[in-house]
Symmetry: C2
Subunit: 206 residues, 2 copies
């Protein structure tokens, strides 16, 4: 392991490598090369080797990488060789979809609670969860020691909800609300806004 600080842009590629490797493993493939992995994920072989080598010598000259070994290492590096409990705030359509999404389990995440501030929704079931009142969010999350949350609330309430999450001790927020939020430096935020993603592509269309 390298003691230097690893650039975030490299960290951002590791989950993509991991995802591709897990898929290869499911297909029964045992080893791969930077060349082959690069073709799968659309990244140059040189860059993949450089990225991986930041963390150790995980490959073998002549044969490449053992997929199961590299998966283990990436899961270790990314801290997903454990389960992370995640809270959802906002029980609209998107909150529902995330609560029922089957794709978290084998990636290291487990949804454990869902909140909404609409009295008409509190108490209703979403999949296996009962919608809880956002008023109880800080207590519930702090008590449960949850460190990650997904926000599927309107832009108008996103900052207030983010403030509550920070207050509750959450350290990583996946924000589906179409607005930039301000949080302390110690809290990480990732944004998912389909319109923003689409607009990044329309630039190239005519």
């Amino acid at each position: 392991m390298n003691a230097d600080k690893i650039p975030d842009i490299i960290i951002g590629r590791l989950p993509v490598y991991l995802r591709a490797l897990q898929r290869m493993a499911e297909n029964g493939v045992k080893t791969t090369s930077s060349q082959e992995l690069g073709e799968h994920v659309g990244i140059s072989a040189a860059q993949i080797r450089k990225d991986i080598s930041q963390f150790g010598e995980f490959g073998k000259q002549g044969t490449g990488y053992s997929i199961s070994f590299l998966i283990d290492k990436l899961r270790e590096i990314l801290n997903v060789n454990r389960m992370w409990d995640v809270a959802i705030v906002g029980a609209g359509d998107m909150g529902h979809a995330l609560a029922r999404y089957q794709g978290f389990t084998n990636r290291g995440f487990r949804v454990v609670m869902i909140f909404d501030n609409d009295p008409a929704k509190v108490g209703l079931k979403v999949g296996e969860y009962t919608i809880e009142d956002t008023a109880k969010l800080v207590d519930r999350i702090r008590t449960s020691k949850i460190k990650m949350a997904m926000m599927t609330v309107p832009a108008s309430t996103a900052q207030a909800v983010a403030d509550k999450l920070v207050q509750a001790g959450v350290k990583a927020i996946l924000n589906y609300a179409p607005i930039s939020i301000n949080v302390p430096e110690s809290v990480h935020v990732q944004y998912i806004d389909p319109s923003t993603h689409l607009q990044r592509m329309t630039y190239y269309l005519d």
Copy 2:
């Protein structure tokens, strides 16, 4: 307008600026500065000025930028001063959520059809749309001249669906399936995978 090719990393920030400006406009703010906008979106003032200046001189020394003027310019640059029809493939929970999402309209997008390959779903209503058979996707999309699509299908069918979309003439794909897909260079792809985003943050947690 600059004739040189603008780096994609700059294009990627423009929708974020636009989103913040539209929010400011809704709040009745008339002008802003690179400093103020930067505080909203978490980007340095110098970078914002540099990004914007790639496309023209849209600001005024001493007073900053007219928000409505800058919004117009960014919408023009990003090609969203028009409506783009978008197809959804995959009528699961995520497809449903996107079909019912209210946040596309004022960002330049309109969902116009939704497909699924499950015979039990074809013919059912999702919001205002009737689910159509994926078997008819190529014809329907080609005839309608749709250039953008959102894929909310399982990873196992994502590549096959992407191939169909390409065949139908789609030029931009927003891929919610947790897998990298291969498309011709002329087709743009953006990825949304909550697990990948969460894993990018767990690296920093302990």
